[in-house]
């Protein structure tokens, strides 16, 4: 029921480094004068119950991680509202040595509420606009789920490489956030480098309704099938596309004795996913950038 989403927007409020002006106005929304609960708004104070994330103030180096943390703890569908001019661009604090700028520098912002301080009326307007965003996201997710049956996995053609590179950069953003490093190899790869990879690897792609939603690449060396760079469009994660791509990649070399993948120590989601697919860690290597690369393998006889 899409309407229930619009009638029950639960918010969480985080003060990044605001002067408290906007914070007081947000709380004013809940008082008798404005009574945002008329619209079903509850200030939950708990990211796991919230639908809308209200951020006030500019982002500084200290609270970057806190904001990302809150954002990632909120269940989908969710929306972010940047309240006040500081949350938009850093405002009068933009030039400060420790301020990184607006909220959109670290998480995707859906709605911006102008003002210094933002007025309660416009904050409520912002919440209503965010509700529209929530419904839109819900609709996209629905239509995605409907399209899941028409998912096709097939060999990639050379002309798909550009699209795969873009998808890869989009999908690896979450990895970059985990490690705080936006120069990971998958994010800096160029089209020419990808074309060289294409010569000695087999690329598979997942296509849904004409749209590229995932890709994986694999190559073999003696009796081992190496599976690399499983990428899935951020909107289409956790719906089973990864499992199907893994399965397809393994069946490219049905006679391989073992399959090998790797991930890194902080990527808990990947580790969980690969463990569930039957992979176990057998080797750990410390990389120069401080990450531990975990090599995982699956012996074929164990799975058949």
């Amino acid at each position: 029921m899409a309407t229930s989403l619009s009638r029950s927007p639960w918010v969480i409020h985080y003060d990044a480094s605001s002067c408290n002006g906007c914070d007081i106005e947000i709380l004013a929304c809940l008082t008798p004068g404005f009574d945002a609960e008329r619209l079903g708004v509850i200030n939950t104070g708990n990211p796991k119950h919230a639908d809308i994330f209200l951020v006030t103030g500019s982002v500084n180096e200290q609270n970057k991680e806190v904001i990302q943390n809150i954002y990632h703890q909120m269940p989908d569908p969710k929306a972010v509202v940047a309240v006040g001019v500081c949350a938009l661009s850093g405002g009068i604090f933009a030039e400060c040595y420790n301020v990184s700028g607006g909220v959109d520098k670290i998480i995707p912002v859906d709605v911006v509420v102008p003002g210094c301080a933002a007025r309660p009326e416009s904050i409520i307007d912002g919440i209503i606009a965010a509700v529209g965003v929530l419904e839109e996201k819900q609709r996209t997710r629905r239509s995605m789920m409907a399209g899941l049956e028409s998912l096709i996995i097939e060999r990639t053609l050379p002309e798909d490489l550009q699209a795969i590179l873009e998808l890869q950069k989009m999908a690896y953003r979450s990895e970059a956030e985990i490690y705080g490093d936006f120069h990971l190899a998958p994010l800096t790869q160029t089209l020419d480098e990808l074309k060289i990879d294409f010569l000695d690897m087999i690329f598979l792609k997942a296509v849904m309704g004409g749209q590229l939603v995932g890709s994986i690449r694999t190559f073999r060396d003696n009796h081992c099938g190496y599976i690399n760079r499983l990428v899935i469009h951020p909107l289409f994660q956790n719906v089973g596309i990864g499992s199907r791509l893994m399965g397809a990649a393994e069946s490219v070399y049905p006679d391989a004795e073992r399959y090998e993948v790797f991930t890194h120590h902080k990527s808990k989601r990947n580790l969980f996913f690969l463990t569930r697919k039957g992979y176990g860690i057998y080797k750990t290597v410390r990389l120069p950038d401080g990450r531990d690369r975990l090599f995982m393998q699956k012996i074929r006889s164990q799975t058949r």
């Binding site: 079903g40 200030n43 708990n46 269940p75 569908p77």
Partner: protein, 286 residues
């Protein structure tokens, strides 16, 4: 005929209790808002909330935490079914306790500091209300000569006349069961509190919806228990239930939260002084 009545009561409970419980929650939120000088949400707001939660992503710390909450919901339905089919009130109370035990296990399983502290408080609260509710069963037996809810319901005299002390004690149980101040230590209806959201902090999506619906079943069951005090005069009973609800909401808005020591002490004092003396009077004078 008895069997038919019992089956009908159970069926009506399973079907209507979520509707009734949700409406009670909606009325509660409106009355609370009016007491604070606000307009308040629409009457059906609790239903919108639950429908929304069912369409949200369910995040977990450990998968098993949801399993316990499903059992909480099932046992709350079971408790109410036993009660409204006119079963043995002792069995009803034990089923209620078992449901609470699953609720507490689920809270512990989620293992975040907030959820943990909230769960410990929930444990203390269930220690707080158990004595009163057990004494209530004894009192109902002393007054009517039966543990069967159907017999108690059919008793020709007003039970509140025999059980005034236990009635006041039962008001405390209701405050605890409805998660109202001063006994909303473990989790509360109101968003912001010192424990984030207490024991439901780590629950989201469908599981949170299940907890909410379980709470509605529980509320209707507790209101049914309240009804028994006035069962001889049905119209008066409905009015009394309404007035009691109003009193609960008033107390919710008038009180701050108790510390756990005070919560435990006050309810146990209530149980020992009012409950036990009520039963002693029944024992020696009737």
């Amino acid at each position: 005929m008895d069997f038919l009545n019992a089956a009908l009561g159970a069926l009506l409970f399973v079907v209507l209790a979520p509707v009734g419980g949700g409406l009670v929650a909606g009325v509660d939120r409106i009355v609370t808002a009016r007491m604070q000088g606000r307009v308040g949400p629409p009457l059906f707001q609790p239903f919108y909330d639950v429908f929304k939660l069912m369409h949200k992503e369910t995040m977990v710390v450990r998968r098993s935490q949801n399993f316990y909450m499903v059992f909480y919901l099932i046992l709350m339905i079971f408790t109410g079914v036993l009660f409204f089919s006119g079963g043995d009130i002792l069995l009803v109370i034990f089923a209620l306790t078992l449901g609470d035990v699953f609720f507490i296990l689920g809270g512990y399983k989620a293992s975040s500091p907030f959820s943990f502290l909230g769960t410990q408080r929930e444990l203390i609260l269930s220690m707080a209300y158990e004595p009163i509710i057990l004494l209530l069963a004894v009192g109902l037996y002393r007054a009517t000569g039966s543990f069967n809810v159907a017999d108690i319901n059919a008793y020709p005299d007003l039970l509140i006349v025999f059980l005034p002390g236990l009635f006041i004690g039962f008001l405390c149980v209701m405050e605890i069961k409805f998660r109202k101040s001063p006994f909303d230590l473990s989790t509360s209806h109101h968003g912001h509190q010192e424990l984030v959201k207490g024991m439901t902090t780590e629950f989201s999506g469908r599981t949170l919806a299940a907890i909410e619906v379980g709470h509605w079943y529980e509320s209707v069951f507790v209101l049914g228990l309240l009804y028994l005090f006035f069962a001889a005069k049905p119209i008066m009973a409905v009015v009394a239930v309404g007035l009691t609800l109003f009193f609960l909401i008033l107390a919710d808005n008038a009180f701050a939260r108790f510390k756990w020591q005070l919560a435990l002490k006050s309810t146990w004092m209530m149980a020992i002084v009012l409950g036990v003396s009520n039963i002693l009077v029944l024992y020696y004078f009737f």
